[in-house]
Symmetry: C2
Amino acid sequence: MSKKVLVLPGDGIGPEIVAEAVKVLNKVNESFSLGLELEEGLVGGAGYDAAGTPLPAETLEKALAADAILLGAVGGPKWDKLEDRALRPEQGLLGIRKNLELFGNLRPAILYPQLAEASTLKAEVVSGLDILIVRELTGGIYFGKPRGIRTLENGDREGYNTYVYNETEIRRIGRVAFESAMKRNKKLCSVDKANVLEVTVLWREIMEELAPEYPEVELSHMYVDNAAMQLVRAPKQFDVIVTGNMFGDILSDAAAMLTGSIGMLPSASLDKNNKGMYEPCHGSAPDIAGKGIANPLATILSVAMMLRYTFGEGAAADAIEAAVSKVLDQGLRTGDIYSEGMTRVGTAEMGDAVLAAL
Amino acid sequence: MSKKVLVLPGDGIGPEIVAEAVKVLNKVNESFSLGLELEEGLVGGAGYDAAGTPLPAETLEKALAADAILLGAVGGPKWDKLEDRALRPEQGLLGIRKNLELFGNLRPAILYPQLAEASTLKAEVVSGLDILIVRELTGGIYFGKPRGIRTLENGDREGYNTYVYNETEIRRIGRVAFESAMKRNKKLCSVDKANVLEVTVLWREIMEELAPEYPEVELSHMYVDNAAMQLVRAPKQFDVIVTGNMFGDILSDAAAMLTGSIGMLPSASLDKNNKGMYEPCHGSAPDIAGKGIANPLATILSVAMMLRYTFGEGAAADAIEAAVSKVLDQGLRTGDIYSEGMTRVGTAEMGDAVLAAL
Ligand SMILES: CC(C)[C@H](C(=O)O)[C@@H](O)C(=O)O
Ligand SMILES: CC(C)[C@H](C(=O)O)[C@@H](O)C(=O)O
């Protein structure tokens, strides 16, 4: 079996944090004899600068051939003014998701006990928080057609997008969610807006239809506005949340921020065979790029997810997660998670500390 | 000039809380010689039970003839199983919004100093919070066509909705937002998803186009996922937020919950002449309906908004708001905002206390 990993550093802090994650990956590759082969590619603004497109053909080819992809982050002010939206960095990311059919996006929101203070929420509301958001990633309004901006007969312009899901798409993300719930606390909350949007009426119906196949999982439904409220009010009521692409984008960011340490949160985007792209939940942070101060832990933890989900190497994944926990115990902190009394370190120091802890 | 107020108690706790608000309205109507004429109507589940539809023709007629509407809340489990979605209580609400062209939805999220403890967020993050969310209410994906559920050639069903805005719709809500910002701290943040959705590319463009007309207002743009995060991270960075119907639904609920006292938050939905519907931000709370324990303050504060926005009676509005503040100072609390050492009161007692404080 081939075990190819494509590394896409991307833009902003991407190259810095990915460099640390690659150190960690190389180390476990050796010590656990994983037999992984790494290669690099260009994506996002880096792709545009080098090849005139955020998803160069060569990158897409490598991505299709790889078993797993490690992505840093894409985007930055440098490319925000590109008139042709198809050339913007985000399109590289969306293009990989779509072309590789990475429909299953897993976004854990975990509060590390060592970082409890970082949350803007009261300790009792978030202590021990551990939610998994399962977001559909290749459908919904992100990719629905027709879409565009047209001129009406009266001369007015009108913008339009299409929010669309068919039952096959809903069913496959539903299964990912039910199966994730089975491995956790067996509670699944499906988020929709079925009191207003027909597409989510179908969503709710299919989730209900799947439920009997997973009798141990307790399925509930919640409107998206209420879900946004409940995440602020009592986030620990949730175990697994499943929702569409757009709602998932919003809720997973809100959930991540509940922990106060978005620099700590990894994510996985999987296809039906668990081939996947792994990336930190945070963005490319152009304001601190190149300064060597970004937090590499979310990217390092993304490597752990990759080993667990794509390569089935649970022991190696555990080792990385334990090492991260250890450096937190040692009091090492990058600026984003720094608090009084801790030791402030840079990106490379943090990466080296994880290596040492392995 | 006619000064007609239509009172729509609706469902669940609606009748109880509206009764208290009507007491308050009657009192200021007299003491400030406002000359308002009140009448009642049926909407939501109450409309369905009495007339077989959530928006009886008589109610719509009265609504069209009124200058302002005071609504309690609609919905409840009793009507959730209605197969025909057009008959569900929510459709009464959506029908009034649409028929009366109440496109400008103002949703303040204010933290009352007396209730600072109620928030799940740390005091320093939310103390003094005072945000206004301006939500477009008669367009976007809520009303866009085509919409529905169809069967594809392969037998699969597919659900679809259309997210659409034309520039006229965007411009008119934009003006409401800029004008609101002018009356406040002159900061306006427009929330969109312009990196993915064309309809919001147009949204952003029109907001930019309006900016020169309001040179004192500092306009910024934020993606909706980031906005959801920033509301949790540092909500006080915002003054006025303007966004479309769906994003506004989600963000305004999240913002309301930041205060921890959604039972305190009123809202206004205005047409181009400031005719409007006023209602609490919270729902019909069927679980506590009929028990006399619901918090009537959001509905009472909705009356204040009505007097200020539709009738230009700032002094009467101020008086109501001052009275509400006074009862909070007195330590009176309904269950939803109760904390140790305070005096727990029921719906009617709270209403009476506001009357007495007037
Ligand atoms: C960059 C952007 C297109 C992307 C998205 O909206 O999916 C990002 O916000 C994310 O959540 O991965
Ligand atoms: C009841 C529902 C249709 C409504 C909406 O989504 O607009 C409610 O959530 C609101 O925010 O007023």
